[in-house]
């Protein structure tokens, strides 16, 4: 089978990051509006309507696409804010909207039949029947897969859902729970990805210095991890903490690690994935540029039948530790 060349879908939290990503070789850039309609609702991040308009112009002039993530779940009684976001994405010429909520997808499909729809990872469509539901009912063209499937499962899935496209995460932060189906953050802090577009939000983080010289990281008063003197204290993302269970202390859910699939890119391409997504709209432009360049080189090498380039992304990953996550079955 002829290999299809996957699109590289890159994050942009700011107009500067968008330009960096496009310049570094991104095929698509994904962005969000500056409010709770998207799942990276962080201070100082995201796009005004005017910035999106300018960003789309910049990308389109260079042959790149812009996807707009409107992927939180509209609050009851206030659907207008989310509807407006969809309307504006369509009006400003976004190449697709990335949506998670059934009601919002229904609205988008009816109000903007010409707008290309992608299913957000937050919808956690993990099987062909769920994907076909969104494709057949609303015309969803592409599904961002939840980070629960192995490469083999993704290949089998693609065979069943064509021509619906799949997009998979290839680099960056790693949810260990099925996305969009996790309320751990709101249980601790009152704010969640689904309702507020945030997970383990910075406003609830404290680093407490210990008499021993070490540091305890806390989220909303819960101790998430403890570091020795001189050890770098990582961000207390709830599911990447150390806890006590069954008489042992461990990283029960996941180590503080980040996803890096450079080494398995050939397998993901053979699995028939249409687009590779890099996580990190909250990252700076230097990070985005370095990761995009690495994956651009990786994809181009595989497509040209060359060996994968040896690119070291250690220095920009959390704690330097990397994993291929759920793509390999042993992870489970």
């Amino acid at each position: 089978m002829e290999l299809a060349r996957p699109e590289l879908v890159c994050p942009a939290g700011t107009p500067a990051a968008l330009r960096s990503a496009v310049d570094a070789g991104a095929d698509c850039v994904y962005v969000g509006f500056r409010d709770e309609t998207n799942a990276r609702n962080f201070p100082g991040l995201n796009f005004s309507r005017k910035e999106l308009e300018e960003g789309i112009a910049y990308a389109h002039e260079r042959g790149a696409k812009v996807l707009v993530a409107i992927n939180t779940f509209p609050r009851a009684g206030q659907p207008e804010r989310w509807h407006q976001a969809v309307d504006d994405a369509a009006r400003l010429g976004a190449d697709a909207a990335i949506l998670a909520d059934i009601g919002l997808i229904d609205y988008a499909a009816r109000a903007h039949p010409e707008l290309r729809l992608h299913l957000s990872v937050q919808a956690a469509a993990s099987n062909p029947d769920a994907i076909r539901f969104y494709a057949d009912t609303f015309g969803v063209r592409r599904v961002v897969l939840p980070r629960v499937l192995t490469v083999q499962e993704i290949a089998a899935l693609n065979d069943k859902i064509r021509p619906v496209e799949t997009e998979v995460f290839v680099f960056g932060g790693l949810c260990v729970m099925a996305e969009g189906r996790c309320a751990l953050s709101s249980y601790a802090t009152g704010q969640s990805p689904n309702m507020n577009g945030v997970c383990s939000p910075a406003g609830h983080v404290r680093y407490v210095e210990e008499a021993s010289g070490g540091v305890t990281s806390q989220l909303a008063g819960f101790t998430i991890n403890r570091f020795g003197a001189g050890e770098p204290a990582g961000y207390p993302t709830l599911c990447k903490g150390r806890f006590q269970a069954a008489g042992r202390t461990s990283y029960l859910f996941e180590e503080p690690t980040s996803l890096n699939t450079l080494a398995i890119l050939p397998d993901l391409i053979k699995a028939g994935v249409t687009a590779f997504k890099i996580e990190g709209r909250q990252r700076g432009r230097a990070y985005v540029a370095a990761v995009v360049q690495a994956f651009r080189a990786g994809v181009d090498a595989v497509m040209a039948g060359r060996a994968l380039p040896d690119i070291d992304l250690d220095r920009i990953t959390e704690g330097g530790r990397q994993t291929t996550g759920a793509y390999e079955k042993a992870w489970r």
Binding site: A76, S126, R181, L252
Partner: protein, 302 residues
């Protein structure tokens, strides 16, 4: 017994209880528990399904004979072809109401009446209305919704709105098994260690603070949800069905307490005290309903 205008649902048992234990549990529920509806089915891990399957027919029969409405609950995270096949069989079950805990199961119902389970994301009127058009006659809402949102949904709903009111809250589901991982086992060779914790495995912080509970691939609250004091307000908002999650406690007595409060025969504060006595060692929370952190317990008048 006079029919109550407010119904109680016993949710599906989320834990891996021994098959005979689970059968006997349901027999006792059928015979003694004052609940209107009982959900049966494996929601968390398909590896557990074969063990209880031989007991399911007699359990369903016993519950139905006792006058309970029986609901068959689907798996929450469906990934493999085998899991899909099981879901299709469930969706095709004649004569039983099905609870869809994944969007794929809602789609499989093909417009026939079904229940939207709490693992399907219903956060707003638009999604609820869409699922109603697809046949949803009842929706058990996600754990993290505040009362204000529940009231808006209850006000706009054609379907019956159900709210979780007791037990450890299902907070997350994963492809990875944390029970296996806690024993350095892989999921494929898990040895079904989740069965060792019939009420979930407590997860404490490094400072010995109780925080979460693990049930195989599911992560739950450490705290038990207790909405005894909020039942009245929720009813006034139009909620007429509440869900009790099975815990490893006397669920017949728990159901009786909720029924007594709903019937106006027991003061919620008094019932709260009795609930604590029924659940030794448990801590309670109700934060979500008050728009707060889920683990908090907020006094109804404060």
């Amino acid at each position: 017994m006079t029919p109550s205008p407010t119904s109680l649902t016993l949710g599906p048992c989320l834990f891996n209880w021994r098959p005979e234990t689970l059968r006997d549990f349901y027999f006792r529920i059928a015979d003694e528990a004052d609940v209107d509806t009982v959900c049966v089915g494996e929601v968390v891990c398909s590896k557990r399904t074969p063990f209880f399957a031989p007991f399911v027919p007699e359990v369903l029969e016993r519950l139905a004979a006792a006058g309970k409405e029986v609901v068959l609950s689907s798996l929450a995270l469906i990934m493999s072809e085998r899991e899909l096949e099981q879901a299709r069989e469930l969706a095709a079950a004649e004569g039983w109401l099905v609870e869809a805990n994944d969007v794929s199961v809602a789609a499989m119902m093909g417009g026939r009446p079904f229940v939207v389970g709490p693992m399907v994301n219903v956060y707003n009127e638009g999604t609820l209305a869409y699922l109603e058009d697809r046949g949803a006659t009842r929706a058990c809402l996600p754990a993290e919704l505040p009362a204000e949102v529940i009231g808006l949904l209850a006000g706009s709903a054609k379907a019956e709105i159900e709210v979780q009111a007791f037990g450890r809250l299902p907070l997350a589901i994963s492809a990875r098994c944390y029970h296996a991982r806690s024993r350095n086992l892989a999921k494929d060779g898990c040895q079904y260690v989740c069965a060792e914790d019939p009420d979930g495995m407590a997860v404490d912080t490094l400072d010995d603070e109780p925080f979460l509970a693990v049930n195989g691939t599911q992560t739950m609250s450490y705290h038990y949800l207790d909405l005894l004091a909020e039942l009245g307000d929720l009813r006034r908002m139009g909620v007429h069905r509440f869900r009790l999650w099975p815990q490893d406690v006397d669920m017949v007595a728990v159901a009786a307490l909720y029924r007594a409060v709903l019937a106006g025969g027991l003061d919620p504060a008094e019932a709260g005290g009795r609930l604590e006595a029924l659940c030794p060692g448990a801590e309670f929370a109700n934060g979500y309903i008050h728009g707060r952190e889920g683990h908090l317990f907020v006094d109804a008048d404060g």
